[in-house]
C-alpha cells in the first residue's frame, strides 16, 4: 500500500506492505538508519521516534498507521550541522557511550515536559534501556537541556 507521511519536516511517500514495521520502513525504504533495533518487541526503546509529537516504539507500529502522520527521527533534530539543545547536552554530559540507545533516548527525551524533576525524567525514560551509562549522565543531560 502507499503510505505518505511527513518525515523530519519533508513529505514522503513509500510503497510498503501495510504491516511492515515502521522501523523497517524508515531504515530500509527511507534510508534513515539512525533509528535502531535493540529487541524488536517494544522493550528497549532503541527504535523510539516521534509520531505526531508522541514518542513511540517504531518496531511496534505498522507502517499503515503512519499514514498522514508527522514523524520525527534523530536525523531530524540537528539543523545544518548544529546540534539541538538535547543532542548538545547529551554530548557534553557524557550521556552517549556506545551510542546504540542514544537516538531512541534522545527522541524519548524530546517528548518530556519542560523543566522536569528527576521523577518525571525517570518515568519518561523508563521504556528506554541503556546498558552502558547507568543512566546518571542521561539524567544530567536532560536536566541541562530542559532546565531544572
Amino acid at each position: 500500500m502507499k503510505v505518505s507521511f511527513s518525515l523530519n519536516g519533508k513529505p514522503r511517500k513509500v510503497k510498503v506492505a501495510p504491516m511492515k514495521r515502521l522501523l523497517d520502513t524508515l531504515r530500509e525504504e527511507c534510508g534513515l538508519t539512525g533509528t535502531k533495533e535493540g529487541c524488536g518487541e517494544g522493550e528497549c526503546g532503541a527504535c523510539t521516534v516521534l509520531l505526531d509529537g508522541e514518542a513511540v516504539n517504531s518496531c511496534l507500529v505498522p507502517s499503515c498507521q503512519a499514514d498522514g502522520a508527522k514523524i520525527t527521527t534523530v536525523e531530524g533534530l540537528a539543523s545544518s550541522k548544529k546540534l539541538s539543545k538535547i543532542q548538545r547536552a547529551f554530548l557534553a554530559c557524557g550521556a552517549a557511550q556506545c551510542g546504540i540507545c542514544t537516538p531512541g533516548m534522545v527522541m524519548a527525551a524530546c517528548a518530556l515536559p519542560k523543566r522536569p524533576s528527576l521523577d518525571p525524567i525517570r518515568e519518561g525514560l523508563a521504556g528506554n534501556l541503556c546498558r552502558c551509562t547507568g543512566y546518571m549522565k542521561i539524567y544530567d543531560a536532560v536536566e541541562e537541556a530542559l532546565g531544572k
Binding site: 534513515l32 535502531k36 554530548l91 557511550q97 546498558r131 547507568g134
Partner: protein
C-alpha cells in the same frame, strides 16, 4: 540533592605539571556522529548484491547427528547452504581458534549444547530465511546431558594457588567460619546484537575476505578466519564498525559469527550479512560463568584472618572458550583485597552441555569477590564485630603480600576508598527519610580490587603495538584498540595530545582495520588505557623527540610539515615489560598485575515485606583508578559497571531448562530500567601508578566487582537473613525470610577451636 559525580579528588602533588588535555572533559571523539544518527553500526550497512544469512541450531543439549535433510519439495533456488563439509573443502579447519581448539565452527557428527550451529543459509530476501530454516530437518540420537555443573565431572581447567602453611594456619585459628556462595549466569546485553558482514574479494574465491562487524578484537577475528578459510593472514581483512556495546560479549564470540558470515560469502561469492536478533543472541552467545564458591576461613577472635581455603567452581559450558583465563582472574581475586599468610585457592571450570560461557566485564573476579565479600559479613556476624572493622583489620596495605606472593608497592588504597565511601554515603543519606511503614531497610558494604591488564606474563606474550603517524593537521593514532562505548578514541587522543603538547582537536584516530592499524592486543581486561595508552604515550614522546624541541603547537605543525615533505612519518612502539614485574605460570606465584584499581561500594537496600522485592535505593562507588584521563568518561564507566552489578545482584536471571535459555527475550530477561536504578554516587580517587600514562590504572572492570556483595550484605542488614545466592529475586528473599527453611536455617557454620 547531592550533585552526582563529584570532581575527582587529586592528591596535591608537589611538582605535578599542569595538564592541558588530560583530566579535561573534552567532547567524545565520535560523539556528534552518535548523537545525530550518522554513526554506522553493522546493521546500518548495505553492500551491493548482499545476501542475508541465518543459522540452523541444535535443539537437543547433547546427541549424535544422524541425518540432516533438506526438504526436496521446497524451492531452494536463490539459497546458499553451508555446512561443516564446506570448511574442509575450502582448505580450512573447523575450529573456533581460541585457547584450545575444541569448538567446531559448525557441528559435524555430534552436538554438545543447545543452539549449537549446524548449518547456515543465505538468501537475498531476509524474509525467506525463516522458511528455509523450517525446511531442514535434523534427526538426532540424543544422549544423556550433564546440565548441572555442580554434578559435572569433566574439568576443563584447574588452577591452584597456595601460599604459607594452611594446616598450621587452621591449627592456630580460634574460630573457623564456612560459607557457600552461588552466582548465576548473566548476559552482557550490549544493546546492539552481534552482527557481521563478510565481503569476498571481487577476483575469485581464493583471493581473500573482508569482514566488517561489531567486535572488541579485530585481530582475534583475523586469526580465527585465517585458519577457518585456509588463507594467509594478509588476505583476511577485519574492520570494526561502530560497536553498540561489548562488555566482553564481543571479545571471543565475534570469531564465530564472522566465520559463519565468511563461509556463506565465500560460497555465494557475494557479501553476506549475518545479524542476530535479540532472541538468537540471548540463546546462542556466551554469558558470565555461573559459580559456586566455598570459603573456609580461620581467624583469631580479634578478626585477624590466619587461614583461608577457597574452592571455586565455574560452569564453563560445552567448550573451553576463554574459561581458563576467566578462572585465573577469579582465583587471583578470590581472597578479596585482604591479607592472609596461609591461603589455598583451588579453582575448576566444569564442562556441561550448555552453551559455552565466556568473557564478561570483570572476567571471574565479580563472582569470586561476591563470595569473598558476602563471606566477610558472615565472619563479622559470627565474631560479632563490625563488618567495616573486620575489613579494616585485614585489608591490603602498601608492603603487604597477596595470595600470589606479590608485594604491593604502588597505589595501594583499600583503606582510603573504604573511608571515603563510608563518609560519602553517610553524608549523602544523612537527611534520608524513614522508610515507609513495614519496609525494611539496610546498608551493606563491599571492598574490592581489580588487576589492570593481562595477568602475569600475559602482556609480554601479547607484545602489543600501537603508534602514530603525522598528518597535515597533527597526528593520527594507529591503534588496534576498539571504541565500544567506553571512550577509547577520546582518551587515547587526550594522552597523545598531552604528550605532544598539541590541541586535542589535532589528533584523529585511524579506523580499526587490520590493514591500517597494528595489533594492540584485545580491547579487554581494563588494559586499553593503562597498557595501550602507555604505549601510545611512549610513541608520542618518541615523535616529539624526533621533531626536535618545539615550544608551541604551531611550531609542531611547522616541523611536521617539513618532515612530511620527505615522506610519511610513522612511529610504532611495542609493549615494554616493567622490569619489576615477575610471574610464574607454573606456580601461580609472582606479580599477578602491575597495578590494581581499588573500590568500595556502600549500598542502601529496601525490601517490601509483602512482595519480597528488594530495591537498591542508593549506591556509593568510590574507585581509585590512578588518574582519570577524562573524568566524565570514567564516571560513566563506574556508573554503568555499577548498574550492571546491581542488575546481576537483583534482577538478571538466566532460566535454563533442558540446557536451553527459557527467557531469551527482553520481556523476561530483565536488565535495570531507569525505574530500577538507584542514585549511583561516584567518587574518583587518584593515586597515580608510576607505570601507567599520567598515573592511570584500569577502570573498565573494577566497578562491577562490588555491587552484588554490597546489596546482599544490605539485605542481611535489613532482614537479619543471609542470602548466599544471586540474583536476589523475590522468590529467593522470600525463601530465606519466610519459607519453611527459616526454622532450620543454618546460621554461619562456625566451629570454635
Amino acid at each position: 540533592m547531592p550533585k552526582r559525580g563529584a570532581k575527582p579528588k587529586a592528591k596535591p602533588k608537589a611538582e605535578q605539571p599542569r595538564l592541558r588535555t588530560v583530566g579535561k572533559n573534552v567532547d567524545r571523539a565520535e560523539g556528534v556522529d552518535k548523537l545525530t544518527g550518522q554513526a554506522r553500526y553493522i546493521d546500518d550497512l548495505v553492500f551491493p548484491d548482499m545476501l542475508h544469512g541465518a543459522t540452523l541450531r541444535s535443539t537437543v543439549p547433547r546427541g549424535r547427528i544422524l541425518e540432516v535433510t533438506r526438504d526436496p519439495a521446497f524451492d531452494w533456488s536463490g539459497f546458499t547452504v553451508v555446512d561443516h563439509r564446506d570448511i574442509a573443502e575450502g582448505g580450512g579447519r573447523n575450529v573456533v581458534a581460541m585457547i584450545v581448539d575444541d569448538q567446531p565452527l559448525l557441528a559435524e557428527n555430534e552436538v554438545r549444547h543447545q543452539a549449537e550451529p549446524i548449518l547456515l543459509i543465505a538468501h537475498a530476501d531476509r524474509a525467506r530465511l525463516a522458511e528455509g530454516l523450517k525446511h531442514v530437518t535434523i534427526r538426532y540420537q540424543p544422549s544423556e546431558a550433564v546440565l548441572d555443573f555442580e554434578r559435572a565431572e569433566t574439568v576443563l581447567k584447574e588452577i591452584g594457588i597456595a601460599r604459607g602453611d594452611l594446616d598450621a594456619g587452621f591449627a592456630n585459628a580460634e574460630i573457623i567460619v564456612e560459607g557457600i556462595y552461588r552466582t548465576g549466569a548473566q548476559e552482557q546485553l550490549y544493546l546492539e546484537c552481534n552482527g557481521m558482514i563478510a565481503v569476498p574479494d571481487a577476483d575469485g574465491e581464493r583471493s581473500g575476505m573482508t569482514v566488517y562487524g561489531s567486535m572488541q578484537c579485530p585481530y582475534y577475528v583475523q586469526r580465527a578466519l585465517e585458519g577457518l578459510l585456509g588463507l594467509p593472514r594478509e588476505r583476511v581483512r577485519v574492520v570494526q564498525t561502530t560497536t553498540g556495546g561489548g562488555f566482553g560479549g564481543k571479545e571471543e564470540y565475534p570469531s564465530v559469527i564472522a566465520g559463519h558470515a565468511a563461509l556463506l560469502a565465500r560460497k555465494a561469492k557475494k557479501p553476506v550479512k549475518l545479524v542476530y536478533d535479540r532472541h538468537e543472541d540471548l540463546l546462542a552467545t556466551t554469558k558470565r560463568h555461573p559459580s559456586i564458591i566455598r570459603h573456609r576461613t580461620g581467624l583469631l577472635r580479634d578478626g585477624t584472618i590466619v587461614a583461608s581455603e577457597i574452592d571455586l567452581k565455574l560452569d564453563g559450558g560445552a567448550y573451553v572458550t576463554l574459561s581458563p583465563v576467566v578462572l585465573s582472574r577469579a582465583c587471583i581475586h578470590a581472597t578479596g583485597p585482604y591479607r592472609c599468610p596461609n591461603v589455598r585457592v583451588r579453582g575448576r571450570v566444569m564442562q556441561t552441555h550448555t552453551p559455552p560461557a565466556g568473557a564478561f566485564r570483570g572476567f571471574g573476579a565479580p563472582q569470586s569477590q561476591f563470595a569473598a565479600e558476602a563471606h566477610m559479613d558472615r565472619i563479622a556476624e559470627a565474631l560479632k564485630i563490625d563488618p567495616v572493622e573486620l575489613r579494616r583489620k585485614n585489608l591490603l596495605r602498601t608492603g603487604d603480600v597477596t595470595a600470589t606472593g606479590q608485594t604491593l608497592k604502588d597505589s595501594v588504597t583499600a583503606e582510603e576508598v573504604l573511608d571515603r565511601a563510608l563518609r560519602r554515603h553517610e553524608k549523602a543519606l544523612r537527611k534520608q527519610k524513614a522508610p515507609k511503614p513495614g519496609v525494611l531497610r539496610g546498608r551493606g558494604v563491599s571492598l574490592f580490587f581489580h588487576g589492570s591488564g593481562f595477568t602475569g606474563g600475559g602482556e609480554v606474550k601479547l607484545a602489543s603495538r600501537a603508534g602514530l603517524e603525522l598528518t597535515k593537521k597533527g597526528v593520527r593514532l594507529l591503534v588496534g584498540s576498539t571504541e565500544i562505548g567506553q571512550g577509547t578514541r577520546t582518551m587515547h587522543a587526550q594522552i597523545v595530545a598531552e604528550t605532544l603538547a598539541i590541541p586535542y582537536a589535532w589528533v584523529e584516530t585511524a579506523d580499526p582495520d587490520t590493514r591500517r592499524v597494528p595489533d594492540s592486543g584485545p580491547t579487554v581486561a581494563s588494559r586499553t588505557c593503562m597498557v595501550v595508552g602507555g604505549i601510545l604515550a611512549r610513541a608520542a614522546e618518541k615523535l616529539r623527540a624526533e621533531l626536535g624541541d618545539y615550544d608551541s603547537p604551531e611550531r609542531f605543525r611547522e616541523r611536521a610539515r617539513v618532515r612530511l615533505k620527505s615522506g610519511p612519518v610513522k612511529v610504532i612502539e611495542e609493549y615494554r615489560r616493567p622490569t619489576d614485574v615477575v610471574w610464574s605460570d607454573e606456580t601461580y606465584q609472582g606479580d599477578a598485575y602491575g597495578a590494581y584499581a581499588w573500590g568500595c561500594n556502600v549500598a542502601e537496600v529496601e525490601i517490601d515485606p509483602v512482595t519480597y522485592q528488594a530495591r537498591c535505593t542508593h549506591l556509593t562507588a568510590v574507585i581509585d583508578i590512578g588518574k582519570a584521563i577524562h573524568p566524565i568518561l570514567v564516571e560513566g564507566q563506574i556508573e554503568g559497571g555499577s548498574l550492571q552489578g546491581i542488575g546481576w545482584a537483583l534482577y538478571e536471571e538466566v532460566v535454563m531448562r533442558d540446557g536451553k535459555m527459557q527467557n531469551a527475550q527482553l520481556t523476561n530477561y530483565i536488565i535495570p530500567t531507569t525505574l530500577d536504578t538507584p542514585r549511583i554516587d561516584v567518587e574518583i580517587v587518584e593515586n597515580p601508578y608510576p607505570g601507567g600514562p599520567f598515573g592511570a590504572k584500569g577502570v573498565g572492570e573494577c566497578p562491577i566487582d562490588g555491587p552484588a556483595a554490597a546489596v546482599v550484605n544490605a539485605i542481611f542488614a535489613a532482614t537479619g537473613r543471609r542470602l548466599d545466592e544471586i540474583p536476589a529475586t523475590p522468590e529467593r528473599i522470600m525463601k530465606v525470610m519466610a519459607g519453611p527453611e527459616v526454622m532450620e536455617r543454618r546460621p554461619a557454620k562456625v566451629s570454635v577451636q
